[in-house]
Symmetry: C2
Subunit: 199 residues, 2 copies
DNA sequence: TTCACAAACGGAACACTGTTCCGTATCGTC
DNA sequence: GACGATACGGAACAGTGTTCCGTTTGTGAA
């Protein structure tokens, strides 16, 4: 995974191709979303399709590689926001906005995160592993400060925000950020009496 | 569209096949979601694929035909709930629960509703045409009663609820109904000061 | 009852996906 | 320069949706 993991150094052409592939994939994702056809990416990179699969066995691997920096940045922004904000809730809100912005600007990424396709399972896992703990800390801090309810798991919230971001770049009438704000607002109030849960 | 629209009556075998197709599609959708392969549906119905396309030119047409009754029922429940509930907000809440339940129990329907695939455009249009006005009335009534904010368009809310329902049947840890409830709760409070909107 | 023709059917064929596999080319080393 | 390991390319396969047209079937008229 990480660059420096022991093992014999890869051949020069392999390293070059991997780099080309990352750039080509980033461009293809920008142009056609994270579902861009494998052949398109291969052509952009000037390699055969086999080379893609050798370097990135699943599409998830490729997507993770392309967006790893941004996911890491998002993860690191959590504690920083918590330290630098007036309230934990404000930090949470800003962090969620960061996360939502990231998803909204990556065509189809939010959808891929929700796909039940096996090829996307590890993408899902990576996002969750990396970001849920961060979200959890923000949530816990805000709950401890009495600013929000304490009964929503970070995983649930992130799923929800991710879902709200699906298709946000396709319909100008759909304001995902607004809905995310609404969801966060819903977090502030105690759950209303459950008149409707018992059908 | 409607059964009774003039024109010469269809041939008996055509009517029979259409009926078989509807039942086969319903079964296939239950078993494999609304993305069930065309050939599967054709086989279940004992017809060739050409016959599907003759009766239902796009997948959206087939889905709409299969679920029309339930969508209509949902649409009709709106005014009924408004008349029979203590408050407009309670009616809204119940109606949204109805809508969410419908989506959650139909594998992949929520996702299809969000797809940018051309084949699903008319599905999207049908749902919106039929349900947005209903939602709008509930929203307007609740807003008029001062129970919720008045600045969220029905279209936006329905998109949001639909999105939250995506994948709800795939991950037991994901509680879509809970999040929908949170969204509704967010509707009750005035929008918090926008500290984060101006980055 | 038979006939003729419009209506409808079936499924082969095509286009476009992802994925695998192996003969060939290239790199790094001795 | 030669050799072995590494990596490459793209043909081939499998699974989708969709179209098209030769064949079959239903129906109304003779």
């Amino acid at each position: 995974m990480a660059e420096g993991t022991s093992g014999p150094r890869k051949r020069a052409d392999a390293r070059r191709n991997e780099q080309n592939l990352l750039e080509a994939a980033a461009a293809a994702f920008r142009a056609a979303g994270v579902d861009a056809p494998v052949r398109d990416i291969a052509t952009r990179a000037g390699v055969g399709v086999g080379t893609i699969y050798r370097h990135f066995p699943t599409r998830a691997d490729l997507i993770v590689a392309v967006y790893r920096h941004q996911v890491e940045a998002c993860a690191e922004a959590g504690p920083a926001l918590l330290a630098g904000s007036d309230s934990a809730h404000a930090a949470l809100r800003r962090w969620i906005d960061l996360f939502a912005d990231f998803l909204i600007t990556k065509h189809g990424l939010a959808g891929a995160l929700r796909s039940d396709d096996d090829a996307f399972r590890s993408l899902h896992a990576y996002f969750l592993d990396r970001l849920v703990p961060v979200c959890d800390r923000l949530l816990a801090a805000a709950a401890a400060a009495g600013e929000i309810r304490a009964d929503i798991p970070a995983l649930t919230l992130m799923h929800g925000v991710g879902n709200l971001c699906i298709g946000a770049d396709q319909d100008p009438r759909y304001d995902a950020r607004r809905l995310v704000g609404l969801l966060l607002a819903g977090l502030r109030v105690p759950e209303p009496p459950e008149q409707t849960r018992a059908y």
